[in-house]
């Protein structure tokens, strides 16, 4: 039906998250029909990203600069490091504009099922960064799941073990509870009980 190049394009598109063979076919056709407005700019953008974007050696974020723009920004607070599972979590926190410290991307979570142990995470670099005298607090912004919190407790232990008499760290985690706009009636039991336990004076 289509030439081998188009078939190859459709196969590559079908591998992307959210796209199946049918939607990949639609996307390929869309691009081919709009060579100047869509296909060529997309190809150029992909080529640029492939050539220039690299993981930041400090925090693990993706950027064209090394270290990344977040690590290089002098306005950010060096005293607080927020630990996240992956780059998409970093981007989610950045969208809130509520955090102005530094980040550290772990690159996964401890998982008995997938055989991911501590040696598979970017922990040595985190311990190294946490050991700098300027760092006062580590925020463990990890998922409220068994794997997420197991990883959080493990990192907290490692950080405590690495403390010295001259340098102590505050290790904190994100609160769990009622989301903004959430109605109690629609919340699951687990979230509701967590929220009740973490109640605070009003």
């Amino acid at each position: 039906m289509a030439g081998p190049e188009i078939e190859h394009l459709m196969q590559m598109l079908a591998r992307l998250p959210g796209l199946g063979p049918r939607s990949a076919r639609r996307a390929a056709l869309y691009l081919i029909k709009r060579r100047e407005s869509a296909l060529e700019p997309l190809a150029a953008a992909l080529a640029q990203v492939a050539e220039r974007v690299r993981p930041c050696p400090q925090c693990g974020n993706f950027d064209t600069a090394s270290p990344c723009s977040l690590c290089a920004d002098p306005r950010r607070d060096d005293g607080v490091i927020c630990v996240v599972e992956d780059v998409d979590d970093l981007w989610a926190l950045e969208r809130t504009r509520a955090f102005s410290g530094r980040y550290h991307v772990l690159g996964g979570l401890l998982s008995a099922l997938d055989g991911i142990g501590p040696e598979d995470l970017h922990l040595p670099r985190l311990l190294e960064r946490a050991g700098q005298p300027v760092v006062q607090e580590i925020i463990l912004a990890l998922p409220a799941t068994i794997e997420g919190q197991t990883t959080a407790h493990y990192i907290a232990d490692r950080l405590k073990a690495a403390e010295t008499p001259d340098h102590s760290l505050r290790v904190s985690g994100l609160a769990h509870g009622v989301p903004v706009g959430g109605e109690l009636d629609y919340l699951d039991d687990g979230t509701l009980s967590q929220a009740l336990r973490a109640r605070r004076p009003v």
């Binding site: 008995a112 099922l113 997938d114 142990g117 409220a144 068994i146 197991t150 407790h153 699951d188 687990g190």
Partner: protein
């Protein structure tokens, strides 16, 4: 083929973009896996957290197929344990060991009941001792029962303080004394009846807990691991080191 049951989530492995293959410890069908379509969606993800008790309906065209689960949560253990690293480690070790050791689709009602009891114990006191008991039952279910009812050498039912690493049978103090360096210590709370004057170890830092974990750990490592051919899950070793750490 279709059946309904209650079960405990042991693991959920991503499948495709939004689905998951869940492994459940069910009351009447043993450890059973099945596809949960959209199991990784926002609404269903929490249902498949390890340790969640749920009702499930399994269906497939043939019995040998993987089949599909439809799950409804009954009670979630995870949310209550997330803040407690030790209890969380127990939950992790329980789910990982059951998933690792139990054969698929072989009913094990006693172990299921013990697992439910463990989940209840995790909400209160005595959870560490309940977990060691659960590991003993797991060994029994998988073909390595520890016989601690009487001494293997003399038949005595009192003063049982060791277990033979070869036979898994108890040995009394008198008969085992010459071989004490080669025998495994048997904590009193693992005996069928607690001896007079002994107390059930309610606290996780009771010395008998680590002794019990060392005993079951020996058989898990030297017998069950050899049979299964895969190393013990990381979560089990993590639990032992967690319970040996006193300050957190």
């Amino acid at each position: 083929m279709e059946w309904c049951d209650v079960g405990i989530v042991l693991s959920a492995r991503p499948h495709g973009e939004g689905g998951a293959i869940a492994s459940l410890l069910t009351a009447s069908h043993g450890r059973h896996a099945g596809l949960v379509p959209a199991g990784r969606s926002r609404s269903q993800r929490a249902t498949l957290e390890p340790g969640t008790l749920l009702t499930c309906r399994w269906g497939a065209r043939l019995e040998s197929h993987l089949g599909r689960f439809t799950c409804e949560p009954v009670e979630s253990s995870a949310s209550l344990l997330l803040g407690d690293p030790r209890r969380l480690s127990v939950l992790n070790a329980f789910c990982a060991l059951a998933d690792w050791a139990l054969p698929e689709r072989l009913p094990c009602p006693d172990l299921y009941d013990a697992s439910l009891a463990l989940l209840v114990a995790l909400q209160g006191e005595g959870w560490a001792a309940a977990y060691v008991h659960w590991e003993m039952l797991l060994l029994a279910e998988t073909g390595f029962p520890l016989d601690v009812s009487a001494c293997a050498a003399t038949g005595r039912q009192d003063e049982l303080v060791w277990v033979s690493p070869r036979s898994g049978r108890a040995v009394c103090r008198e008969a085992g004394q010459p071989y004490a360096d080669r025998l495994l210590p048997l904590p009193a709370f693992l005996l069928p009846e607690l001896p007079a004057g002994m107390e059930w170890p309610e606290q996780w830092d009771h010395p008998d807990i680590c002794t019990g974990l060392a005993l079951t750990g020996y058989f898990l490592q030297h017998h069950l691991q050899v049979t299964i051919g895969k190393p013990l899950p990381w979560a089990r070793g993590h639990l032992v080191s967690r319970l040996q750490t006193v300050d957190r």
